[in-house]
């Protein structure tokens, strides 16, 4: 006899949503800390990272229980498999937020140039990553394929800004040798944001798999212009 799994799925969805919100806040706060060089805010992000990790472990354990006790099939099976992978991706995003916060702690406030941030389009990149994270959560909860697939093209802007950042920073270092360390650390921030875009795209692919049983992994990415 098949045990009815609905309440377990509802509970798992709720837990994943909580983790999603927490990771979003972490990423937003870490970015704010960079723009304002607020070390207290950065410390808060670093302190909260343990809670993100705790969520990951709990969700992993819940998924294991569901598979063992309920033998999910069809859409339920795809759902728990997707949750397992989304969980891992969210945890990585949490790590990136922590890494970005650590940049703030390592960097001397006086060495930060806000005009440089504008030239690097850091605000734009952060906004895009946060938007993608918001869309991914909405796509999951509303089972919206179009939103999930839109993440692939939205990641193009993140990649573009990251690629330009390296060139701009190389030139900047040539003219401001004393700020080399800050610039190298800043490359790390851009790299983390770029990887965040990739992980959110992966989340979109898992959502498509869960809803339509289509595997988008390792297919050619869309090369459309962003809207």
């Amino acid at each position: 006899m098949v045990k009815f799994i609905e309440s377990e799925i509802t509970s798992l969805k709720k837990e994943l949503n909580e983790m999603w919100s927490m990771v979003y806040n972490q990423m937003a706060k870490a970015s704010d800390a960079v723009f304002t060089m607020n070390k207290d805010l950065a410390q808060q992000v670093i302190g909260r990272e343990k809670r993100v990790n705790a969520y990951e472990l709990h969700i992993d354990s819940d998924v294991e229980d569901i598979i063992a006790l309920y033998n999910p099939v069809a859409i339920d099976l795809r759902f728990v498999l997707a949750v397992l992978k989304i969980n891992t991706n969210l945890e990585r995003l949490g790590d990136f937020a922590e890494g970005i916060a650590r940049f703030v702690l390592r960097t001397d406030n006086n060495s930060v140039n806000t005009e440089l941030f504008e030239e690097l389009r850091l605000h734009e990149m952060v906004e895009r990553v946060l938007l993608m994270l918001e869309i991914s959560k909405k796509a999951f909860n509303e089972e919206n394929i179009d939103d999930a697939m839109s993440l692939i093209s939205k990641d193009n802007l993140v990649d573009e800004i990251n690629a330009q950042a390296s060139t701009i920073l190389t030139q900047y270092i040539a003219n401001h040798i004393d700020e080399t360390k800050m610039c190298l650390d800043l490359v790390g921030v851009f790299r983390k944001l770029e990887r965040s875009g990739d992980h959110i795209t992966n989340i979109g692919e898992e959502i498509v798999f869960y809803i339509e049983a289509k595997v988008l992994k390792h297919h050619d990415k869309h090369d459309e212009t962003d809207d």
């Binding site: 006899m1 098949v2 045990k3 009815f4 799994i5 609905e6 033998n71 999910p72 099939v73 069809a74 859409i75 339920d76 099976l77 795809r78 049983a213």
Partner: protein, 46 residues
């Protein structure tokens, strides 16, 4: 139902005397085409 999944290559789902779906067992249990089949194998009815 796990026995059916284990021993068969093909699976048919009948409801009230009518065949709802017939396909490879793997397809039926991972991505059935009919919503009725999905609702039955996931325990939402029956």
């Amino acid at each position: 139902m796990q026995q059916a999944a284990r021993v068969s290559d093909m699976t048919a789902f009948f409801y009230l005397g009518a065949m709802v779906e017939y396909d490879y067992t793997k397809k039926i249990f991972t991505n059935p085409s009919k919503e009725e089949t999905q609702n039955y194998i996931t325990g939402r009815f029956g």
